[in-house]
């Protein structure tokens, strides 16, 4: 499946991916409103890790055998057998954070403000191409099928 891959060699750690991730997952879909006015404040589903020499932005790997899915106590976290996308049904998620405990990438974000649900990368299905990839200024994120 097509996934977002980070290339630590080119990541600047600028955090623009976070900005566009938040915007894409906001109600208003407006960058300024999403960050300055919207309540609850949308959360980014990426972790930007910065180091001395390299940086990278990491999000859900949509694993073949996702540990978050097998761990989920409610059945909210599911892997779509057709698309491979791992999604969380926020109506059913109770915020027990078992997925946070299970995900070996630390890719799941706790969204306490939005009613205590696990927030994670959905590859921006609603906008076609992941926003983090679209707006990365240095091609450090690629949306590719590498299998």
């Amino acid at each position: 499946m097509k996934k977002v891959y980070a290339d630590e060699k080119w990541c600047l750690g600028c955090g623009l991916c976070n900005v566009y991730c938040r915007t894409c997952h906001s109600e208003t879909n407006d960058i300024v409103k999403a960050h300055n006015f919207e309540e609850p404040r949308p959360k980014s589903r990426l972790h930007v890790e910065t180091g001395e020499k390299v940086n990278f932005a990491l999000q859900c790997r949509h694993c073949d055998d996702p540990k978050c899915v097998t761990a989920c106590i409610t059945g909210a976290m599911q892997k779509d057998p057709d698309t491979g996308l791992v999604t969380n049904d926020t109506d059913r998620c109770v915020g027990c954070w078992t997925c946070v405990l299970a995900c070996p990438f630390g890719a799941i974000v706790r969204d306490e403000d939005a009613g205590k649900v696990a927030a994670k990368c959905d590859l921006c299905v609603k906008s076609g191409e992941p926003e983090c990839v679209k707006h990365c200024p240095n091609n450090a994120l690629k949306f590719e099928d590498r299998e």
């Binding site: 078992t98 299970a102 070996p104 990438f105 590498r146």
Partner: protein, 414 residues
């Protein structure tokens, strides 16, 4: 091939999904003494608190059995297993033959002997949906709830019932809450958080007797304290439901002993979930690891072995995520032992405690700040030497950056 599963919870679902991955044709039968469509047991406290609806209690969608082509015998208790004839006998005398059997009968609440405690109609164990539905009928904003036991079940019951009842008292023999998974440093903020939300604790003491015969009206503690009671929840512990299995010659200590593929000592009989004692891969010891995700994984592992299919199963170890009134707690692995080094950090009610043995992370307790806990879990399951990491576990920005370049890139490109 004819597969039979006794039990209808996480391990059963793991087994069904595992079987169907490998075998779309075989017959699968699920036998359960509960009448409900498969539901999420940990959610019953949420249901009582009103945060999860009846519809959302289901662990898999309504068409799950149909889609998986599973025959269900719900509301039928399996009373005996004949390992020679390869058949399960039900309460109504009916027998169900099997080629491979999974015992996923879970556990039952252990109710300690307390003076006067009988089968009063306001005493519950908080393990099953039915008991939640019964409790629901007795709960109103004046109801007085007494919970015996401040373990996971007791505290989840307290959390669920506090917002919808008049008062919640928790009685615990140990001197702190969650004594099995938290140390004092971890337990204190949990207790504080629960007290803030109206839960009263009686720690380091036991319930001596209950009054009356038909209905428990009050609970009397050892020091004579009397607590008025409309609902009594007994949550001191659980015992695996092993009786039928043992009668069939399946070996068990407290739980059924299984190998890494969930096989019991009897051919074609597997066991998974809370009923088992499996190997804790972090310590190599057999133990009961009665936790939802483990049950699922074990059920699935059993399924793959039943089908003789290749399976990447790393085994399980104790790990748990739980929260009380918004204070999250994550624990994993062992909490104490010989030659262990403890690293800890934290302030303002948040704490992290890591237990390290021979350069390997073997346990952790995270209270409050649990973000990215799975990376630590990964270190534990993969037994990655901590000396190869470039950051300390207690660093605020601990993440994949701590891994060596090659390992990090392998992770990033997965």
């Amino acid at each position: 091939m004819n597969y039979v599963i006794i039990g209808n919870s996480a391990a059963a679902v793991g087994c069904i999904e595992g079987l169907r991955k490998n075998d779309t044709k075989a017959s699968i039968t699920v036998i359960s003494d509960e009448v409900h469509h498969v539901y999420s047991r940990p959610l019953i406290s949420y249901y009582l608190a009103g945060t999860v609806t009846h519809e959302n209690m289901v662990y898999r969608k309504a068409d799950f059995y149909e889609k998986m082509n599973v025959k269900t015998m719900l509301g039928s208790k399996a009373t005996a297993i004949d390992a020679k004839k390869k058949a399960v006998t039900l309460e109504n005398g009916e027998t169900v033959g099997y080629d491979k059997l999974l015992i996923a009968t879970g556990s039952s609440a252990f109710v300690p002997p307390i003076d006067g405690l009988d089968k009063q109609n306001n005493v519950f164990t908080f393990l099953k949906y039915d008991s939640a539905l019964d409790i629901e009928k007795l709960i109103d904003k004046d109801a007085k709830v007494v919970i015996v036991g401040a373990g996971l079940i007791g505290l989840k019951a307290a959390e669920g019932l506090a917002p919808v009842s008049g008062s919640v008292h928790v009685v615990e023999m140990a001197d702190r809450v969650l004594p099995m998974i938290l140390d004092e440093q971890g337990a204190a903020p949990v207790q504080a958080k629960m007290q803030e939300n109206g839960v009263t604790f009686h720690l380091g003491i036991t319930a001596q007797k209950v009054v009356d015969k038909d209905r428990v009206e009050k609970v009397v503690l050892k020091d004579g304290t009397e607590i008025a009671c409309d609902v009594l929840v007994m949550a001191v512990g659980v015992r695996p439901n092993v009786a039928e299995a043992m009668a069939a010659g399946v070996k068990a200590n407290r739980g059924i002993l299984v190998d890494e593929n969930m096989r019991t000592n009897v051919d074609d009989i597997y066991a998974a979930g809370d009923v088992t004692e499996a190997v804790d891969v972090t310590t190599g010891e057999h133990k009961i690891m009665a936790l939802w995700p483990n049950a699922y994984l074990q059920g699935r592992a059993a399924a793959y072995d039943m089908c003789s299919a290749e399976h990447d199963f790393d085994g399980v170890f104790p790990m748990n995520a739980v929260g009380f009134f918004g204070l999250p707690i994550i624990t994993a692995g062992v909490q104490d032992g010989e030659d262990m080094q403890v690293l800890s950090t934290g302030e303002n009610g948040e704490s992290k405690r890591f237990i390290v043995k021979d350069d390997i992370l073997v346990g952790m307790i995270l209270v409050g700040d649990v973000d990215r806990a799975g990376i630590y879990t990964y270190l534990m399951s993969e037994k990655i030497p901590l000396s190869t990491l470039t950051k300390k576990l207690t660093d605020d920005d601990f993440g994949l950056m701590a891994f060596e370049e090659e390992q990090r890139n392998e992770r990033l490109s997965s």
